[in-house]
């Protein structure tokens, strides 16, 4: 009996000793954006009982993969509502997986939106366009939530920029998000160029775009790509840049 008492007291004493260490690790996880999933009734409702138990046992990545594969199948069957539901579950379980946010947004913004616009069961064009815009908004929501969970990764900023560029035709916002991506560590070199290209389409910001494109051009051959030269020449004409300040007409890659 004494031994049992000693064991229980030791366990509690040990528990009190380990609490600060466990709490400190939890805080560090939060600082490093790890363990971004909170196990509560909301999650339980979203992923179902079996998924919740599996996620509780430390297998949320595998549960998320299973749901991702289900979402892939739903996409092949063009069940858009199910695709949306499953991707919400997947991204809830794995908020640090950029890929899931990106694919979810791509399905909503590029696939479901086109399907909504071409929906033959809906005779009214206005309603089809409305549905299409709703899918764009869902794609934007996914990307914005993804950025909130992964503020240090450039990929989702890029995807949001593409959404603004290709779907909303909002070049200013596209340029802004490409610039945000370019400012992050390990961003691809093209983000800076893309930001300047998008800015060159914005009315009233041509001068700023010209300066940025010219700066890229002056950095050397590596940046003198056909699109950059085309946009730069377009702006030179539009801004009426003096001839001596313009870039040469001949193929710059051969100089």
């Amino acid at each position: 009996m004494t031994r049992v008492f000693i064991v229980v007291v030791s366990l509690i004493g040990f528990g009190l000793m380990k609490l600060p260490a466990e709490h400190a690790i939890e805080m560090q996880h939060q600082q490093e954006h790890l363990r971004g999933v909170e196990f509560n009734l909301g999650l339980r409702e979203k992923i179902g009982q079996l998924g919740f138990v599996a996620a509780l046992s430390g297998f949320r990545a595998i549960v998320a993969d299973g749901l991702f594969i289900q979402a892939h199948v739903a996409w092949e069957r063009t069940e858009w509502g199910r695709v949306l539901l499953l991707f919400r579950q997947v991204t809830t379980l794995q908020p640090r997986a950029i890929l899931f946010w990106d694919i979810a947004a791509w399905h909503m913004g590029w696939n479901a939106s086109v399907a909504a616009l071409n929906d033959r069961t809906q005779p009214r064009t206005a309603l089809r366009i409305k549905a299409q815009r709703e899918y764009f908004a869902l794609a934007k929501d996914f990307l914005e939530s993804g950025i909130k969970n992964n503020p240090d990764k450039p990929q989702l900023y890029e995807s949001l920029a593409r959404l603004y560029k290709e779907k909303y035709k909002d070049h200013q916002r596209a340029s802004e998000f490409f610039a945000k991506a370019a400012a992050l560590p390990r961003a691809p070199s093209y983000d800076r160029r893309f930001s300047a290209y998008e800015l060159s389409y914005c009315e009233g910001r041509e001068r700023e775009a010209y300066e940025r494109l010219r700066q890229l051009y002056d950095e050397g051959k590596k940046e003198r790509l056909p699109t950059l030269i085309t946009r730069l020449k377009f702006l030179e004409n539009k801004l009426d840049i003096p001839k001596e300040q313009r870039i040469p007409d001949a193929d710059p890659l051969k100089r």
Binding site: F14, I25, Q28, R35, A61, I62, Y190
Partner: protein
């Protein structure tokens, strides 16, 4: 008489060679069990077949491959730790081996340490085998993907090719996976020590396994209970006592679930890895000490 006296004087109170002998026997016994092979073969098959589970784009495929493989490693090492350790003492009592060993001048401390070290070695071998299999599968897929990407970008500018190959390499086999594997092993060590502690007062291995399954699930909820207990002051006193018991008695197993984040590219800082590893070693030591203490009082 003089040789007996010499033997007594040569006997040491604590001997690593005796622990080594018990460790070797335990490891041999465990590797002869069918459950070890079934679990290991099943894990290796799952890791090997993960390459064929889903064929999406390369990035998606790598993520699923890593998730499934590391998940398989985690569940099988945890299962192995619990099942292998739960059998140790009841089996020895049933076979009466424990009486033969303890009748000799072998302290109970050495007996338990030898047994636990045997399990930890078995776990290390399993983790190494599974890691090797995982690395081979991932490396093979990575090489195929690199070749295909290089072909695809053959006419693209050099920096685009470098960006594409860099992204591919970052999402496939990389050094950040190592801390994840190490933490899986530490979690298994912790579970083995805890199972040994439970087994010292349990009468059957079924009871030990059932209790460990309960602890496994509760351990993954411990962090939620602890933070609620520390931060929430409006809960009833009954709820607070319950939360306190969970927070104090159970280990925080969620702290060891770093693989979910590692597979998606999150690099674990050295400080966090060291803290988590230290916590794992601390848990293992404490549970082993408690197991030794209880085992000393056990009537055999």
């Amino acid at each position: 008489m003089s040789s007996e006296t010499a033997a007594i004087t040569r006997h040491r109170a604590f001997s690593f060679s005796r622990i080594g002998a018990i460790t070797t026997i335990t490891l041999t016994e465990l590797t002869r069990q069918k459950v070890f092979y079934v679990l290991l073969i099943f894990a290796l098959l799952l890791i090997g077949s993960s390459a064929f589970l889903a064929r999406f784009t390369f990035q998606q495929e790598f993520q699923i491959l890593k998730d499934v493989s590391l998940g398989a490693m985690s569940i099988f090492t945890s299962l192995l730790a619990i099942i292998a350790t739960a059998r140790l003492i009841p089996q020895d009592i049933e076979d009466r081996t424990v009486y033969t060993i303890l009748a000799k001048p072998v302290p109970r401390l050495e007996y338990l340490l030898g047994k636990l070290t045997g399990v930890l070695l078995l776990l290390a071998i399993s983790v190494l085998l599974m890691s090797a299999m995982f690395a081979v599968v991932l490396y093979t897929r990575e090489q195929a993907a690199l070749q295909e990407t290089a072909r695809h970008f053959a006419n693209a500018p050099r920096d685009q090719l470098d960006d594409a190959l860099g992204a591919l390499r970052a999402s496939a086999l990389n050094i950040d996976l190592l801390p994840g594997v190490a933490i899986i092993y530490l979690k298994a060590c912790l579970l083995a020590a805890l199972t040994l502690f439970i087994a010292t007062f349990a009468t059957t291995n079924i009871f030990t396994i059932v209790v460990m399954v309960f602890i496994y699930f509760t351990g993954h909820l411990q962090a939620t209970a602890r933070e609620y207990w520390l931060q929430e002051h409006s809960a009833s006193w009954m709820a607070r006592i319950f939360l306190a018991v969970v927070a104090l008695i159970f280990p925080d197993l969620q702290a060891f679930n770093l693989i979910d984040d590692i597979v998606v590219g999150a690099a674990i800082s050295l400080a966090l890895f060291v803290k988590t590893a230290a916590l794992g070693i601390f848990y293992t030591l404490i549970y082993t000490l408690l197991a030794i203490f209880v085992f000393y009082g056990k009537e055999l």
